[in-house]
């Protein structure tokens, strides 16, 4: 539950930043990307849609159309690592098999860098 709320809060922050934060607006201005963050079982997650400056989102982890999916082993780990907002924590989660990336990893990096702009 906490993970789903975290994703929703993240979406709202991104949405607000897409309207108010000049640096972030520029960052997303030309990008089209579908970023899915979910748990392995697909029960929890959220799809973030970037379309040349506009952001929308859909709840749930079961979405087929994505450019990249960050797949967490479980919601608890996902919440702990994501709320820490630490590159090192994400790296160690990936090294420990708790996080896997499906699709094009570049988009994951792009998304992470974008999130850093608003935190």
């Amino acid at each position: 539950m906490r993970f789903s709320i975290l994703l929703l809060v993240l979406y709202r922050k991104l949405k607000k930043a897409s309207e108010k934060n000049l640096r972030f607006k520029k960052y997303i201005a030309t990008m089209r990307a579908r970023i899915l963050i979910k748990t392995t079982d697909g029960r929890r997650g959220r799809l973030f849609l970037f379309d040349r400056g506009r952001i929308s989102s859909r709840g749930g982890g079961d979405h087929a159309g994505f450019d990249v999916a960050l797949v967490w082993s479980d919601a608890g780990t996902a919440f702990r690592v994501m709320s820490a907002a630490s590159d090192e924590a994400s790296f160690l989660a990936a090294a420990g098999g708790k996080l896997k990336v499906e699709g094009m990893a570049y988009f994951a990096q792009w998304f992470t860098d974008g999130v850093k702009l608003i935190l």
Binding site: A94, A95, V101
Partner: protein
Amino acid sequence: MARIYGGHLVAKYLKEVERVEMAFGLSGGHIEQILDGFTEYGIRAIDVRHEQAAAMMAHAWSIYTGNPGVCLVTAGPGFTNALTGIVNAHLDNAPLLVLCGRSPIRDDLRGALQEMNQMDMVKPVVKWAATCHDPARIPEYLATAFRHAMQGRPGPVFLELPPDILNAKVPGEIAPGLAGGTRKFTCHPGDRALKRAAELINGAKKPIFLGGSGVGFSRSDQDLRAFVEKAGIPFLLLNNGRGVLPDSHPLCVIDTGFAGMTLGLSRADVIIAAGIRFNWTLQFGGIFPEAKVVRIDVDPHEIDRNRSADVGLPGDVASVLEHMLPHVEQRDHTGWITDLRNASRAFMDSELRQRESPSEPIHPIRLVAQVQEAAGEEALYVVDGGDTTYFGLVGLRSRERAGVLTPTGNLFGCLGTGIPYAIAAKLARPDKQVVVLNGDGSFGFNAMEFDTAVRHNIPFVCVINNDCAWGMIKHGQELTLGKERLQCSELGRRHYEKMVEGLGGYGEFVTRDEQIVPALKRAMAANKPSCINVLTDPTVTSPATIMFEQALKVE
């Protein structure tokens, strides 16, 4: 002493002093006496169909052999055609010697055939350029050209030779003092800087050695091996440094791909960057904002470029590593390397599965995996294209020096280098199987060089990753403009293999996964210049496309 033509003296110097065995060029009236000199003194001339290919072949020759590549082009259009290849060598720091014809000095300003100001055009893109006005000084000018090409940071040099001196007769002796040819000097910083660097390296928890072309040109195999193995440091060798130590070395993390490079560099606490520039491909150094940086470069101006180094070590890579080694302590970074490999695999999961799984249409990374299976780690690979370069770079493995060669470390982005580089590779290493992975777009630039390869009996295999498009541009346009607004980025379904057959080579057209390896084996067995034209999935975008688009996002 017999008197000989200035053009013959050029060849005599090349052969007897610099021991040049081969030159790349295209004939022309202005340079006829040099060509005749090649006959006289036994220099093999590889004559091409477009001068840019000659420059590219000579450039690649320098990478494979470590000696300057010699390119001979005629005046005017011969010169302008070669310019792209010269710029390519300039941005790749390749020691390319361009010998160029010129309209007669006698007829300057009178509208002579092919009269143009070549010098002012070429000066910004070479290390050194001169016109020789005195046939007796030809050896001196050539010696100067070779020294400039090789000393310090290597690079292309340009010598303009007008017919006034090439057709004049001079005494044939080589100038005294030049008989030994170009010497290569090495240099390294003093102990204080070396110790400071070693302290950083000894204290590092997550170090990475990042080597570029400077590692290759300094011939640093032994010193690099001793350094990384003692310090226990994982390494990435890029550009013309690739293969100085084999990709299969236990400390080599090239297998972690693009994701591994990004992750590794961003998580490292100390980066030893040797002979590599922090250009756009490394986000101008921004990819590792928190790491301490030890920077080794033969050009001191490079040390703090784009990103201040914590310790700067000006000098050639081999010499610096050799002298730093006694100060470096034995370390074991197995835990860090394991974490890096595991994390990278988590990020590369999809790509790894695509490599292993047959697909229809064929995924480009699957094609690369099949090419690797057919040709193995002993082959020399050349990659050429946009997305194709990405897939080749991350998917191909070689045990050989410059075993996976890309165009200019992706700096000039010069398409069309693949076939010329492959021809040079085979000439430099005739014992090796040479495979070029070409995009269908990039194939077109120098495809006529298959004729060169057929005439000179230079077998190699060209595998075309044929997505019927300028893929990187097309996918970039799809991302930024929309699929409905594609412009000038699509090509047709073309039988390039038939063109190669028409020129006397071997060709096959492949559309299914199971056809790839058998077709490649037949091509290798044919022992001819060969083209395997493989239709691949036109919808696949590489991460390089996204990176390319982002890099051009300027408002």
